[in-house]
Symmetry: C2
Subunit: 155 residues, 2 copies
DNA sequence: GTGCGTGCAAAGACTTTGCACGTAC
DNA sequence: GTACGTGCAAAGTCTTTGCACGCAC
């Protein structure tokens, strides 16, 4: 269960990262004198299997589906740790609910949000990497990531 | 107090809109059989004067500074109406708090967010308009808006 | 005059926290 | 064996809602 190489490898969205995500998480925890518990491992596993945008509720449901009972408190605490580790990031489509997605070793996933159907489509806009880097350079800063959402509806 | 032409006119971010924002709001309300009350007018005025990203708390404080007392309930109710009218939009920098900014008749304001200082810098990336339109066309949709946030830190 | 709006306080939704017990290291 | 983690329930924060009174139309 600890073996989750990033290698859904044919996915063009993945950068060249060879280290399994669980190893990344483990290292972050060890570095801070924290423990790699079964709950934390199972939560990360589940997120990797989901491979989609999710919220705390969905994550708990997914775990329950695998007969794993984890409290909301632990879910929220672990999501915070995973964010700190750079493994997941918040999506922020609206302010109603905190949603997350895998981020580590991936290009940011840009979103096309249909206002008429509320459908969320993942898109790829590689030119943004260049754009954001230029913007940051102009401000003497280094880009760490970005978020891009396009709102659209039937024409 | 009703006269708030969009005309901070030299601002290159403003499109050519000649109608005062309050008129836009008024029309939306009338169309739905709702009333243009002093509270609603004062809230819109204050948002226009602020001309910055704000949250419900700040808005109430700003009103209080002008000796105008409006309840949180009314503020939230009015913010929702202003969003429906397309006059303001949510910013969504993080999920902690709903923030808003003026939107009507303006290009979306793109943001450069410093992770080291939490400073939020408004930037202008006009090429995104083109990019987003191309993306939408490719999906047979029409772009209604977008959100772009770059995260950066000292290099 | 009627119906919508406001303030207040209570309710709601999501998230965080204190505590006692359990477990990774 | 110790310090950190977990579950539970309670507390917190932001936001929404029910109700009685008041005002825009």
């Amino acid at each position: 269960m600890d073996l989750n190489p990033i290698a859904s490898g044919s996915d063009a969205n993945n950068l060249h990262v060879t280290e399994p995500l669980c190893a990344v998480f483990r290292r972050k925890l060890k570095d801070e004198g924290q423990k790699y518990t079964p709950e934390r491992a199972q939560i990360l596993d589940t997120i990797i299997q989901l491979d989609d945008i999710f919220d705390a509720e969905q994550l708990q449901a997914e775990l329950k589906g695998a007969s794993i009972r984890v409290s909301k408190a632990t879910i929220y605490r672990t999501l915070k740790l995973l964010q700190e580790a750079g493994i997941i990031q918040q999506v922020l489509v609206d302010s109603e609910l905190a949603r997350y997605q895998l981020a580590y070793g991936r290009r940011p996933r840009d979103l096309l949000i249909r206002l008429d159907t509320n459908e969320i489509i993942t898109i790829d806009a590689p030119e943004l990497i260049d754009l954001r880097n230029r913007i940051c350079s102009a401000h003497g800063l280094k880009a760490q990531g970005h978020r891009f959402q396009v709102f659209a509806a039937e024409g």
